[in-house]
């Protein structure tokens, strides 16, 4: 028998039992769909976070006291502006070092109120981070040195407080103190859930007086190139360790953040895919079950085919192709629905989804393999049937 004939014979058998075929496929469809969607969401999340991190700027090293953990703001800081000056000397290029001190405050313009993050920083911020201005100017060295009450607003704060009015030159009130707006940033989005468009930047010296503290939360260093990052990182940490013996300082780079987060999310995606894979396996058991029922039901047909000259392998091939067709068609439908579902989720919710080719190829490959694996036993049983017994079957 030619392969083509076997293929059409199997297709015909599936067509005849349409409802049963579809129900059997359903297990595979759901399994593949789950794999594709979950992997898409996992990869989407990873891509989004990677985009956020690289959106900060390039070659950034963040120095914080203690042990750094992603997402948790260090509470007790012993870093101060003099440490920032020390790091500037260590790095050599003072313009490539900036500082940050943060506090949540309510700001007011007339009756408009907004809860924002006050960020105390200096004139070097734009040398390290990507914060393009929409209008006005950045903070200057003089602003910092003379402790001026000037501010550069995040895009969302500006919009909330001033609406369509140009905020530059106008005043806002923070904890009873008046600040003059000198600039407005463009929209940059969120990083790690930190809404950077809801920040209000003021000179670090002004911020420290406002908060009533000498500390700063962290120091950011910009390396001149990707190769400089690691040596510079080690140099800074070592210098700070010498300055404060017995204390720990952490310096983390974007690459390290990307690596850590990437591997965590990759693992998560893998686990999700494996769980979805289990449902694919269950779908395969369903295929095996239905194929066994089908072989029993069609015993007489098998006997007849053998009487007419079908060899053992002809019958085996026919049933194996049926099983593989079931899972393959199911797999293709699952991929279509999974891709559609992932796109729908992306369109309807803030969950990012990235459809990856490897997950589609894997899902397809596994569904074909499931068909072969779970189809072999029923197909062998069909092929081995004794024609005399099979012809007599009820």
């Amino acid at each position: 028998m030619r392969a083509r004939e076997a293929f059409f014979m199997a297709l015909e058998a599936l067509r005849v039992n349409r409802l049963r075929s579809v129900l059997t496929m359903l297990g595979v469809i759901i399994g593949v769909l789950a794999v594709v969607i979950l992997v898409a969401i996992g990869s989407g999340a990873k891509n989004a976070i990677e985009r956020e991190i690289s959106g900060l700027g390039s070659n950034i090293i963040l120095v914080v006291p203690g042990q750094l953990s992603v997402g948790a703001a260090p509470t007790q800081s012993r870093l101060s502006l003099s440490d920032a000056a020390f790091v500037r000397r260590v790095v050599g290029d003072p313009s490539k070092v900036t500082v940050s001190v943060q506090s949540g405050e309510t700001v007011r313009v007339g009756r408009q109120e907004a809860f924002v993050t006050i960020v105390g920083t200096d004139e070097n911020l734009p040398n390290i981070f990507q914060r393009p201005l929409d209008r006005g100017r950045y903070l200057t060295e003089t602003d910092v040195d003379t402790r001026r009450r000037v501010t550069v607003l995040g895009a969302e704060v500006a919009d909330q407080l001033f609406g369509d009015v140009d905020p530059v030159g106008r005043q806002i009130t923070v904890s009873g103190a008046r600040f003059r707006v000198v600039g407005v940033y463009t929209t940059v989005g969120a990083t790690f859930g930190v809404a950077r468009d809801k920040e209000v930047h003021v000179p670090v010296t002004t911020a420290q007086r406002l908060i009533g503290a000498d500390r700063i939360n962290g120091i950011a260093v910009g390396a001149s190139g990707p190769d400089e990052i690691e040596p510079l990182q080690q140099k800074v940490v070592a210098a700070l360790g010498e300055r404060y013996p017995g204390e720990r300082f952490s310096a983390v780079t974007q690459t390290q953040l990307l690596g850590t987060i990437g591997s965590v999310l990759g693992m998560l995606t893998g686990v999700l895919a494996a769980i979805a894979g289990i449902s694919l396996l269950v779908g395969g058991v369903g295929v095996s079950n239905i194929m066994l029922v089908s072989v029993r039901e069609r015993t007489r047909e098998i006997g007849l085919r053998k009487a007419l000259g079908a060899r053992q392998r002809d019958v085996l091939t026919q049933f194996l192709i049926e099983a593989v067709l079931l899972t393959t068609i199911g797999g293709l439908l699952g991929i279509l629905l999974g891709v559609g579902g992932a796109l729908a989720i992306q369109a309807a919710t803030p969950v990012p989804a990235a459809i990856t080719w490897w997950s589609i190829a894997l899902a397809f490959g596994v569904s074909v393999a499931v068909g072969v694996f779970f189809g072999v036993a029923p197909a062998r049983r069909a092929g081995r049937l004794d024609p005399v017994v099979a012809l007599r079957a009820e």
Partner: protein, 239 residues
């Protein structure tokens, strides 16, 4: 010229719950090309077992069976399937047609296993259906045809591969008298026209009467073979 079928001391026993049951206890017969033979016997006589052996669907416990001079005991299952496909046509009591499949495709099925191309298959299947008077029923499915028509489709299927022997197991058993007569008339004509040897298994004497030679089977043995009886009578008369 070798016989279409030649059996020598065929025995077949089954194990039923540990007990050996002898269905055939030593059957020898020789069927020449183009012969029309009826195997007659009550149920349980072993005639179905004999027919399965003659059709190479089963293997004897002992004894030899030659199909067109080829000893079947030396053949693998695969070779036996090919032998069935090329030299033997089957007609069953309950037709055994594939449901939801057109008459044409049912008839063409043996050619599928022979690897014949689609166009040739359809052409030969159509001619076989025309030969049994069903040229107008090519695309009908079994459920759309009468029992007589279904059995004629089965006959066309048995003949499409141009076998040397057609084995018919109670071909009229599920048919009324008129349809049964019609089927027998077709078998008579095919035997006369195409020269295919026909072995008819039946328990009805009227059906068996269509055959020139009758073999009576009882308790797993040949009780009477009219060909041998005639020869014996002729020889006796000559003496």
């Amino acid at each position: 010229m070798s016989a279409a079928l030649e059996a020598v001391d065929l025995k077949r026993s089954y194990q039923l719950e540990g007990v050996s049951v002898e269905a055939l206890r030593g059957v020898s017969l020789r069927i020449e090309p183009g012969e029309f033979v009826a195997i007659i016997g009550p149920s349980g006589s072993g005639k179905s077992t004999l027919m399965h052996l003659l059709g190479c669907l089963d293997r004897p416990t002992s004894g030899a069976l030659r199909v067109n001079g080829v000893e079947m005991s030396g053949l693998s299952d695969t070779s036996l399937a090919e032998l069935r496909n090329r030299t033997i046509g089957f007609v069953f009591q309950s037709f055994h047609l594939l449901g939801r499949t057109s008459a044409l495709d049912n008839v063409a099925l043996p050619l599928v296993y022979r690897g014949t191309g689609k166009a040739e298959r359809r052409d030969r299947a159509r001619r076989a259906l025309e030969a049994v008077g069903l040229g107008h029923r090519l695309d009908h499915r079994p459920s759309q045809m009468s029992g007589g028509e279904q059995q004629r489709v089965a006959i066309a299927r048995a003949l499409v591969g141009e076998p040397s022997v057609l084995l018919a197991d109670e071909p009229t058993g599920n048919l009324d008298t008129r349809n049964g007569d019609e089927v027998m008339a077709i078998l008579d004509r095919l035997n006369a026209d195409s020269g295919v040897a026909i072995v008819l298994v039946t328990h009805e004497p009227e059906v068996a009467a269509h055959a020139r030679r009758q073999i009576h089977v009882r308790d797993g043995l040949i009780e009477l073979d009219t060909a041998l009886a005639e020869r014996a009578r002729d020889e006796g008369g000559a003496r």
